[in-house]
Structures are given as structure tokens and as C-alpha cells.
């Protein structure tokens, strides 16, 4: 289980953490410096059982999202006559021979719908997160590294955004924009960049005072080169941690909007609108509400565990344990 985790590709998990790498002389000086920092982080990470568990669950969820067409037993929108029972066409309960997690009110295979719904929910959350984090790195970098009026403008905008009623403004945006997956991504991003920008700015602010930045400047490196070559690599662990820890917020926003009927709209399934559809049949078919919610919960839990573990691994001084 340990060796199959995807975190830290290209790292050598076989190396013990407390001892220096045996073949330091064999490699280039610079490369050893870089790898050992990540190597230490990896060795701390792989001893953290909860973080590994979170990582494995997150991996399974992401893979099933990517491979939905291969993994799902049926077409998520195909309606089966045998999917409904009795005179009143009641959905089949979980555990039936053909449909493992039962069927929904239209006789569609619920497991397939959950897998395809997860594909949409996770894709939307990850896409929104990539946009948000990219914006946050650029704005946080500008604010932290350049300072001055650009810092004032960006940080005042951050304060403004934090002062707005987020959910209401997201509802307003979803009303105005045409219903599509892009709208959902935009609506999540509108507030998604705010908190990471603050964090990255603070990080850059302290990094830029470090001696290696002064050294680079003394050697004649320009601002962009210093930012890209010297600051960004040091910011990378923070970026990775926050990319992970912000996924739950994105998932929750998508689920909430879709539950209100303002996010991902049927017939495209998402975990949020599956819950919405399920609420109409909760007396006869409670699994239609319960399963998508459990999946949302597990997704959030796994990304939180993974994110906390990564943070502790990269920065053991601020350990949460």
C-alpha cells in the first residue's frame, strides 16, 4: 500500500530520512540539495498513517472519476425497465443482483450515476482549483514581491471579497450567467482565489528577505528571474498543500449550488444534483440521498487528511499533532 501511493513521484522512498544520502558526491551539488528537502518531506509523509489513508482514498476517487466510462457498469442515463419494481414503479434497493447500489426513480443504475456524478464533481472542483491557485500565485506573488501600491490594491480587494456574503453573491452570479459547467467553475473561482492569495503573499513576503534572494540580486538576476527561479520553488510546497486543502471547499460549493438547482443541471449527474433528485423520494428510497452525501464526505475527509499530512511533512515545526 505504501509503495503504491502517488505522492512525491520521482522521489526515492528507500532512503532513510535521518541519514544523509549515501551517493551525495555522485550527483550534482544542486540536485542533491533539492531532492533531499523533498526526500525528507516524503519520509515524514510516509510515516503518517492518516495522511497515507487520505492519499489512497483521494487517489481511488480521482482514478474512478477519470476512468468513469471504464469503471461504471452501465450507462448513467440508460433507463432499465427491470430497474423499477412493483405496481408503483419503485426504485430497486441496493443489493439487487443486477444493480449493486440499486436504481433511481427512473430505473437508472445508481452506482453508474454515482461514478459519473463523481467524475463531474471532481473535475469541476479540480478545474476551479487550478484556476484559483494560478490566480492566487500570480496575485500573491505580485503583492508580496513588488509591494507598494500593487500590494495595497490586491490586499484591499482580498479584504473586500472577504467582506461579501459569499453564498449569496455566488447565487447571484449563477442567476446571471448561462447554465453550464464553465459557469460553475467561474462561480467557485470567484471566491476560491481569495484565501490562497493571502497565504502566498505572506509566504513570498518572508521569502524575499532571505539571503539567497539577495545573493541572486547581487549576481544581477532580474525580478522575473528571481521570482521564477528562486521564490517559486520555495513556494511550491505551500502551493501543493493549499491545492489539496482547497479541494473540499470547491466540492462543497459545487454540491451546494447543484443542490439548489443553480449549478450542474440534469441530465448531467453531479453529487449535488443527485442529492436534489433524491430528496423527492427520501421516504421510499433514502439511499438516493445518503450515498452521494457519503461520497462527498469521504472526498472532503480524504483531501483534508492528505492536505494536513502534506503540510506536516513539508513543515514539521507547525505540526498539527
Amino acid at each position: 500500500m505504501t509503495s503504491s501511493t502517488p505522492i512525491g513521484p520521482g522521489l526515492d522512498p528507500a532512503l532513510p530520512s535521518s541519514q544523509p544520502e549515501p551517493d551525495v558526491a555522485a550527483r550534482g551539488e544542486k540536485e542533491v540539495e533539492f531532492r533531499s528537502h523533498w526526500g525528507y518531506a516524503w519520509s515524514r509523509f510516509r510515516r503518517d498513517r492518516f495522511a497515507l489513508l487520505g492519499g489512497v482514498i483521494a487517489l481511488i476517487l480521482v482514478v474512478s472519476a477519470l476512468a468513469a466510462p471504464l469503471v461504471a457498469p452501465f450507462d448513467p442515463i440508460e433507463q432499465f425497465a427491470e430497474g423499477l419494481t412493483g405496481d408503483f414503479a419503485i426504485p430497486r434497493a441496493p443489493g439487487s443482483d443486477q444493480f449493486i447500489l440499486g436504481t433511481d426513480s427512473l430505473g437508472r443504475d445508481f452506482l453508474s450515476r454515482l461514478i459519473w456524478g463523481g467524475r463531474i464533481s471532481i473535475t469541476v472542483a479540480v478545474a476551479a482549483n487550478i484556476v484559483s491557485i494560478t490566480i492566487a500565485v500570480i496575485l500573491g506573488g505580485i503583492a508580496g514581491y513588488l509591494g507598494g501600491w500593487s500590494d495595497s490594491v490586491i490586499m484591499r480587494t482580498v479584504d473586500l471579497a472577504l467582506g461579501f456574503p459569499a453564498l449569496l453573491l455566488q447565487i447571484a452570479l449563477a442567476t446571471v450567467l448561462p447554465p453550464s459547467l464553465w459557469t460553475v467553475i467561474i462561480v467557485i473561482t470567484v471566491f476560491g482565489w481569495v484565501y490562497p492569495t493571502r497565504i502566498f503573499r505572506g509566504q513570498i513576503l518572508s521569502l524575499r528577505e532571505r539571503p539567497f534572494v539577495e545573493a541572486a540580486r547581487a549576481l544581477g538576476a532580474g525580478r522575473i528571474r528571481i521570482f521564477a527561479k528562486h521564490l517559486l520553488p520555495h513556494l511550491l510546497p505551500t502551493i501543493i498543500v493549499f491545492s489539496t486543502l482547497r479541494i473540499p471547499t470547491a466540492i462543497l460549493t459545487e454540491a451546494g449550488l447543484s443542490f439548489l438547482g443553480l449549478g450542474v443541471r440534469p441530465p448531467t449527474p453531479s453529487w449535488g444534483n443527485l442529492i436534489l433528485e433524491g430528496t423527492r423520494f427520501y421516504r421510499t428510497a433514502p439511499w438516493l440521498v445518503l450515498f452521494p452525501g457519503f461520497l462527498i464526505m469521504f472526498t472532503i475527509l480524504s483531501f483534508n487528511l492528505l492536505g494536513d499530512g502534506l503540510r506536516d511533512a513539508f513543515d514539521p515545526r507547525e505540526s498539527s499533532h
Binding site: F164, L168, A172, T175, G256, I275, I300
Partner: protein
């Protein structure tokens, strides 16, 4: 202190101004024709044109913006298309319900989160700490609207202790307050735990311990009040954001608050009501945060602004 309050007041006004500009831009972006919405489905082209003219929709953008601005500072937020009455009436009419749920949910999160956080901090690394932090981790992964549906299913349908929805009595507020309060209390428990641990390592705590005070007195008189300061700040801000931020739980429980109304307005493309809700709640939040900032300074005299 006076300068500080004046500066925060200006900030609150800046937020309201920004919200005003933003809602205007969003209203302007709307794909539907507002004149058609106001005139109704049976209106003729001529009637729609008349409505468009009387609403001033043919004027240049800047003229429309200044009119919007002028109306709002005179308390006119427009009329709801859905309810055919002023937006301010519609929003203020729903405010008591939102405040009631907001205060109830905020109380649950503070009491539950505070108790669990304090237990965790006192028994750090022992089983009560590990157990409560484990539960907290699961609790903060709960989507509050889904948790509300589960609570409804279990305590409203399977074991019918509480009503399935509605508003008015204490029994109605219990489940929605728990649906919001339990997931949020997990954040409080985590924050309170680390806040207490931080205060415990302060020199003044060591000093009162050295003086010979009992553990209980040290905890209640010296650790707790200081550890509560960051929590109270967060709580005040939560209270502000709960007024418009609980739309999802309000929808689940049929709770007649500002959020549910905004969702209904969004579904029927009632643009003035959606934007008016955003604007009025922004203003409320700005003043709630102002009050929090002032009380923060009053609670903790060590905090010096500028």
C-alpha cells in the same frame, strides 16, 4: 480609538459601495429582458417598450448607474418582480427568521466547539483528545445541507421527535441549528484547542502557577479568557455571515429566511430581489464586522491598531 472607529466606518462604507457597483454590473449582464419580466407574459411589444422607457432602460449606462446609486442611498432598492413589492420589505420581512437560525446555529457551534476544544487541550495526546479530534475531522467534512437531510430523515421521519420543517417554535429550530452548528463546531474545537495550548505556554501562566494557584483557577481565570479572544472574533464574523449564508439549510428545512428567499428569487430570475439581498446582507455583514473589530479591541487591550 476614535480614529480607529472612523477608519473602520469608512471601510464598511467602501464595502457597501463595492457591493452596489457589483450588483449593478451583474444586473446589467442579465440575459433576460427586465422590461418583459416586469410587463408580464401577456404584454404586447408596445407595452414592453413603454415599460422599458419608464424603467429608464434606454438611458446610457452611467445614467442608469447614477440613478441606481441615487435610489439606494435614498433607501429604494427596487421592486421584486416575483412578490411585486419593495425589495427592502421582502428582505427585512425574512430577517427575523434568518437571525433566529443564525444565532441558534452560532450558539451550537460555540458551546459544542468550545467544550470539545477545551477537553482536547487539557487531555492533549491522551484518548479524549484523540477521540474528539477524530470526530472533529469527520464532522468538518460534513456538507451541512446533506447533514440536515440526514437529521431530518432520522429525527423527523424514522424517529419522529422533531417536525419535518416549519418555523415558529423552539422545536423547529433544533435540527437546522444542529445541521449547521455541528460541522462548524469542529473548526472551533480545533482552533480553541490550539489557542488554549498557545496561552498555556505563555510566561504569565507559568508565573501564576509558580505563585501557587490551583490548576482549576489558573485554567478558568488566566487561560480561558485569553484563549477565547480569537474565538470570539471568529464567532462574531460567523454570526454576520450566517444571516445570508445559510441558504442551503434554509431550503432543506423550509426555513423562511433571507437565503431561501434569495434562492427562490434566483430560480424565478427575480433579479432585483437577488441583488437587493446581496446588497442588504453585505451592508449587515459590514456593520457586524465593524462591531466585532471594536469589541475585539475592547476585549484585548493589548491589540493596538496603528
Amino acid at each position: 480609538m476614535f480614529n480607529f472607529i472612523i477608519r473602520r466606518l469608512f471601510w464598511a462604507i467602501a464595502i457597501i459601495f463595492a457591493a452596489m457597483t457589483l450588483t449593478f454590473i451583474l444586473t446589467y449582464m442579465i440575459p433576460a429582458d427586465p422590461a418583459r419580466q416586469v410587463a408580464g407574459p401577456q404584454a404586447t411589444e408596445l407595452e414592453i417598450a413603454n415599460v422599458r422607457e419608464s424603467l429608464g432602460l434606454n438611458d446610457p449606462v452611467l445614467v442608469q448607474y447614477s440613478r441606481y446609486f441615487w435610489n439606494i442611498i435614498h433607501g429604494d432598492f427596487g421592486r421584486s418582480w416575483m412578490f411585486r413589492r419593495p425589495v427592502t420589505e421582502a428582505v427585512f420581512g425574512r430577517l427575523p427568521a434568518s437571525l433566529q437560525l443564525g444565532i441558534a446555529a452560532a450558539s451550537v457551534e460555540l458551546i459544542l466547539g468550545g467544550a470539545i476544544g477545551a477537553i482536547s487541550a487539557v487531555y492533549r495526546y491522551k484518548w479524549p483528545d484523540r477521540l474528539s479530534m477524530g470526530i472533529a475531522l469527520v464532522a468538518l467534512s460534513l456538507p451541512s445541507f446533506w447533514f440536515g437531510l440526514v437529521l431530518l430523515f432520522v429525527f423527523g421521519f424514522l424517529i419522529p421527535i422533531f417536525p419535518l420543517g416549519g418555523y415558529g417554535e423552539v422545536k423547529h429550530v433544533v435540527l437546522p441549528a444542529l445541521a449547521v452548528g455541528i460541522p462548524y463546531s469542529a473548526w472551533y474545537a480545533r482552533m480553541f484547542r490550539s489557542s488554549i495550548r498557545e496561552v498555556m505556554s505563555e510566561h504569565y501562566v507559568r508565573a501564576v502557577r509558580a505563585k501557587g494557584l490551583s490548576g482549576r483557577v489558573v485554567f478558568l481565570r488566566h487561560i480561558l479568557p485569553n484563549a477565547l479572544i480569537p474565538i470570539v472574533t471568529m464567532w462574531g464574523m460567523d454570526l454576520g455571515s450566517f444571516v445570508g449564508g445559510l441558504a442551503l439549510v434554509e431550503v432543506v428545512f423550509g426555513w423562511p429566511g433571507v437565503g431561501w428567499q434569495a434562492v427562490e428569487a434566483a430560480r424565478s430570475l427575480d433579479v432585483p430581489l437577488v441583488m437587493g439581498s446581496v446588497l442588504l446582507v453585505s451592508a449587515l455583514m459590514a456593520f457586524a464586522n465593524l462591531a466585532v473589530d471594536i469589541s475585539y479591541r475592547w476585549l484585548d487591550p493589548r491589540v493596538v491598531f496603528d
